[in-house]
Amino acid sequence: MAQYKMHLLVCGGTGCRASQSDVIVKNLESSIKELGLSEEAQVVTTGCFGFCEKGPIVKVIPDNTFYTQVKPEDCEEIVREHVLKGRRVYRLLYEDPETQKHIEDSKHMGFYQKQLRIALRNCGFIDPENIDEYIARDGYAAIGNILAEMSPEQAIDIMKKSGLRGRGGGGFPTGIKWEIASKNKADQKYVVCNADEGDPGAFMDRSILEGDPHSVLEAMAICGYCIGASKGLIYIRAEYPLAIKRLQVAISQAREYGLLGDNILGTPFSFDVELKYGAGAFVCGEETALIHSMEGHRGEPTVKPPFPAEKGYLGKPTNVNNVETLANIPVIYLKGAEWFASIGTEKSKGTKVFALAGKINNVGLIEVPMGITLREVIYEIGGGIKGGKKFKAVQTGGPSGGCLTEKHLDTPIDFDNLLAAGSMMGSGGMIVMDEDDCMVSVAKFYLEFTVEESCGKCAPCRVGNKRLHEILEKICAGKGTEDDLEYLKNLSYVIKDTSLCGLGQTSPNPVLSTLEHFYDEYLAHVRERICIAGRCKALKLYTILPDKCTGCTACTRACPVGAITGEKRQPHVIDVDKCIRCGACYDKCKFTAIHVQ
């Protein structure tokens, strides 16, 4: 590999690409050539840096200068000033939202300071389309060492000792999963990588596949060795074209080097990987549904047991792990189970990647050690609530999760604490809400998603979620009753209790957790017909402030239902029962006399 004095890392993730990061790469390269710096500086397309809020990102190595929101036309200046003259281009540096100061390098950015990147260790660091860069970072050394030194049992033992738990949502211990699959005898077994990321707003799996595909391939090979499988399948949604392309490149490079295929590294172990495309149905993240979909059947779950470890793909023992889980694995073997187990909490080891979204300053992808508090994530990494608003809740675990409130801010985040708080880890979605968010509407939003994504196989999920959504709509429309709240609760419990798969068993969580933590808001909707956050249009309460009203009658004339009455030049009154909350009076009033609650 040629040696350069300076590396310009350009984010080639889907987000930054959408803002022309590919053009940025081209422009940087041509500017470097023009200024005769080709020997000194190298432009590298990497995976996602996580700081998507401010993409496209260009990071300059060795000084870690972190340029944000770079446009193609900025490239010439970056090269001329920074590469040639060593002067940072200040206007492109990240500005701390609190101090309004430019931060020179990524090491001093709050967003990165609290992060610990294990699964994302290579994202934004190496060129995902160049296997050499992966190998230079000890890539494929883990599988190499295992094949040379360990029996499958020993390797599984390390996985068990590391305490790694599945990152796809369930949190099942990976080592135990492998052990079960390894003990089932069969002529053929399969390793499946679940890349059917479907939680709204979550994109860690995509980022890993785009930024570090070889880690996933290597981990699959390790798993294959451990359970006795020679075939790996990656079930990836067709909506991830870039991840698919990077995987295809990675697979063919690994094959050329003999790191996939027959007799890997001269050992008797053979393993190859194939891609299977999904159509992006949320339920196909459930492993039995995923397997059916891969087999060409309708993507719907079946009753477990039998688990895939006994009867999976084509009826053979199959181990299904999620992308993020796999990305953790090679480094665990390189650094040891003890190292990994030393990170995190008692029952949740290692780190977790979260997709920060919502009313937060630093939207993006972060990886933090288990046990970090929500407060640290939201205020230190996330940079606090947007626009200085008041924090209200954070929704974790996607549509299967629940809402956590102020009182949970200092709870250490791990699998069990989130569950105890009525939410879940899920795949790591984290949506922050502020005082302007109506919690009934939030629950309604998630139900809309599950109604859309239910496979329709079992009745409680197929019809029940639809009814839950209808009741929430009714409440938001100001037509709900207290009986509805009771039924909402009962229906939620029954759906959880009777649904066939994880989708239905968790889909009422957003309803139940908001009912628990924000019951007053629900009550206000059905009793006083008020939406505290002012989100539910039908629940806006319009009144006339008598001291401001001049009695001009403009509102009376604008009201389509005749709800406003009053003498000329006397303060008018709105009949709340007649009012349809259309807001016409508000728009017409020249004296700001209409008050909206």
Partner: protein
């Protein structure tokens, strides 16, 4: 591309490849490394800073010194260009002036490897442009 036939092949390959990535690896943990910053403003370049920088990088690679060389803007000592700043972890940064390739080697031998100061040190009570807003 040729097949990697054994674990030893893989390890050898990694060894050959890691040099190219060293700069990224090191920059990932700058606080634990000796940081050498070469002032590379117009005045610095005119005075030969680029050659100095290359020398430093080569020495670091050759002697396997845990150091990282970065570029900096003008430090305000245009009379003493090329200037370099060396920060050894746990110590205050030291700035050297009038550094040519010979001096650069000297800095490495004496200050970096043995902690001895040499002539040409510029007092450090300065503030670089970069630290201003």
């Amino acid at each position: 591309m040729k097949k990697i036939k054994s674990l030893d092949d893989l390890r050898q390959m990694k060894k050959n490849l890691e040099q190219g990535m060293n700069i990224r690896e090191k920059s990932d943990t700058p606080e634990s490394l000796i940081q050498i910053r070469v002032a590379m403003a117009t005045c610095g370049i005119a005075a030969g800073a680029r050659g100095v920088m290359n020398t430093l990088i080569e020495r670091i690679e050759k002697d396997k010194i845990p150091a990282i060389v970065t570029q900096g803007g003008c430090m305000g000592y245009c009379y003493a260009e090329p200037t370099i700043e060396v920060k050894i972890p746990g110590k205050d940064p030291v700035v050297f002036g009038n550094v040519d390739t010979a001096v650069a080697n000297q800095i490495v031998d004496k200050y970096i490897l043995n902690g001895e100061l040499i002539d040409g040190v510029i007092p450090t009570n300065y503030q670089t442009i970069n630290e201003k807003k």
